[in-house]
């Protein structure tokens, strides 16, 4: 669908709360169009922070500073007059926890279309809702109860609903934050199946800590460690012929912490950027 690659240019993200922590350090990566790129790395390495900085989701948090830039088809995401909601519409985001909006199944998918006014008539809206529910293999399971609350679906179904909801606004890029980590194996498999089906049509960036999942799904792999990109390559080369010592250690099943000169405190989790307003930990779950 899109030919537009996403690029980061010396992107750094710093949490400036009680302690200053640079969670992402000068990352420059290209995300090729119509491929699924996984960002892998141990917990607390800055994967989710990097992901959220790609569509300015950190703007809604306090105490986060961004340096460098993200380029969507060559246009700056940060140094622009385009409002952040328009950018987030082009770069969609599916959170880690499967979350149905507190409305019906139908309205969950229709939500984005409604806020952007992306439909001509009720019939058009109906058709779009069906199209996107079919894209995530959910239509057959919910066609007879579209008016039921989204929250009544199973977690696996809700996660697919979240993907459908994100696709409905027709983003150029889809960011998925460990979208299967909260699911049982059967539900995770159905979400993976959906992503596999979608990856030829969309530019998908998937954060995961599961190497097995990266192997199964990815076209490209980015290995992030302590906020830095250690290695980035196509999936086959990455797993079969890793270039970096730390990649080999990580693939070998251990965290390469001993081999790094970084002081121990930098491995700590960044603080939740906005404390009591819910704990969107700025990073992966610990």
């Amino acid at each position: 669908m899109t030919e537009i690659p996403l690029t980061t240019d010396q992107l750094s993200v710093t949490y400036t709360g009680d302690r200053e922590i640079e969670a992402v350090k000068g990352v420059s990566i290209d995300f090729p169009a119509n491929t699924l790129t996984t960002i892998i790395g141990p917990s607390g390495c800055g994967k989710s922070t990097l992901l959220k900085s790609l569509n300015r989701l950190h703007d809604i948090q306090e105490n986060v500073e961004i340096d460098g830039d993200v380029l969507l088809s060559g246009d700056s995401v940060y140094n622009t007059n385009v409002p952040a909601p328009e950018i987030r519409r082009q770069i969609g985001y599916v959170p880690q926890t499967p979350t149905a909006l507190p409305v019906s199944i139908y309205e969950n998918v229709a939500y984005g279309l409604r806020i952007h006014g992306d439909y001509e008539s009720k019939a058009d809206l109906d058709e779009k809702v069906e199209t996107y529910l079919r894209k995530v293999n959910l239509w057959d399971e919910v066609a007879d109860r579209l008016d039921a609350p989204g929250a009544e679906l199973s977690t696996g179904q809700i996660q697919r609903l979240c993907v459908a909801r994100s696709l409905a606004v027709e983003p150029d890029v889809l960011l998925c934050d460990e979208v299967t980590s909260a699911l049982d194996p059967v539900s995770a498999e159905s979400v993976e199946k959906t992503l596999r089906k979608l990856k030829s049509e969309y530019t998908i960036i998937l954060v995961t800590h599961s190497m097995a999942q990266a192997r199964r799904l990815a076209d490209e792999v980015v290995f992030l460690y302590l906020g830095e990109v250690i290695e980035s390559n196509d999936v086959q080369s990455f797993f079969e012929d890793p270039q970096e010592e730390r990649t080999k250690t990580f693939i070998g099943g251990t965290t390469p912490v001993d081999r790094d000169d970084t002081p121990a405190e930098q491995t700590a989790t960044p603080p939740a950027p906005d404390g009591s307003k819910g704990s969107t930990a700025g990073d992966d779950k610990q």
């Binding site: 809604i60 987030r88 519409r89 880690q96 939500y111 984005g112 609350p149 929250a151 009544e152 819910g278």
Partner: protein, 285 residues
Amino acid sequence: MNRYTTQRLFGIAVRAAALLVVGVLLLVIGVTVVRGGGVLLADPSIVLTPPGSRYMLEGTGGFLHAVLGSLFIVGPATIVSMVAAVSTAVYLQSDYSSKRFSDAVNMFLNVLWGTPPIVYGVFVLTIIIATGAQTSLFFGIVAIAIFQYPIMTRYTDEALRAAPETVRESTYGLGATRFESMRMTVRAAAPGVIAGLVMGFARGIGDAATVLFTTGRSTRMPGGLFEAATTLPVLIFDQAMSFNPEVRSHAYAAAFVLTIAVLGLILLSKLLAGRYARYTPGGNR
């Protein structure tokens, strides 16, 4: 003592505590229902009859004036307070306000919540005296609204705080503006917000101290916004102090009406909240 004996004793103690609470509640409701219900059954018309000219002395007529007074004061007060409370809570929990500011405001709200209602009554009385106005329905509305505001705000704030952060993230991730995202968060918090509104109404309709000095304790039907009025709790106090046994018996009937109104409201809020809870994330809890 054996570990299992300790466990058993603790079980007995907590059950006894729960039983005590339920027992007291049942006793209060029971006495009100039996005594007030008896009076009401004998003459149900007293709720819908305006008071006679010598009502407080001879018990002629009924207490419709207080029923209407309560509704006319607490109804508008709740609406005013609700708008202010929901707006404040939304502001505090939205991305328009910093966390530090919202924490500071919450501390003030907690202090306000803990302030005895009579203080609000005296505060409004001071305004009445300073402006040379008279006690009236209007100042009752003002006093009750001020009294309800911190209660409703804290409830709404807590409900919004408990709404899943991922609802916010999801809506932003779809390109929602702060306003659109906030609307969805309020929807996710709807059961808690409704509970707060009903709690505010129930506290408002049951409070005597705030309206004691501000509405004028009228024994006539409410005549207008700036006319004196009375409410059920104030009337109950006055009736209970009466030397006339019939007037005193009306106090139970009025208490019965008040209790039923509050119970009915809480039931209604449960039903409403239940309907919304189905839609909230994790709504099958």
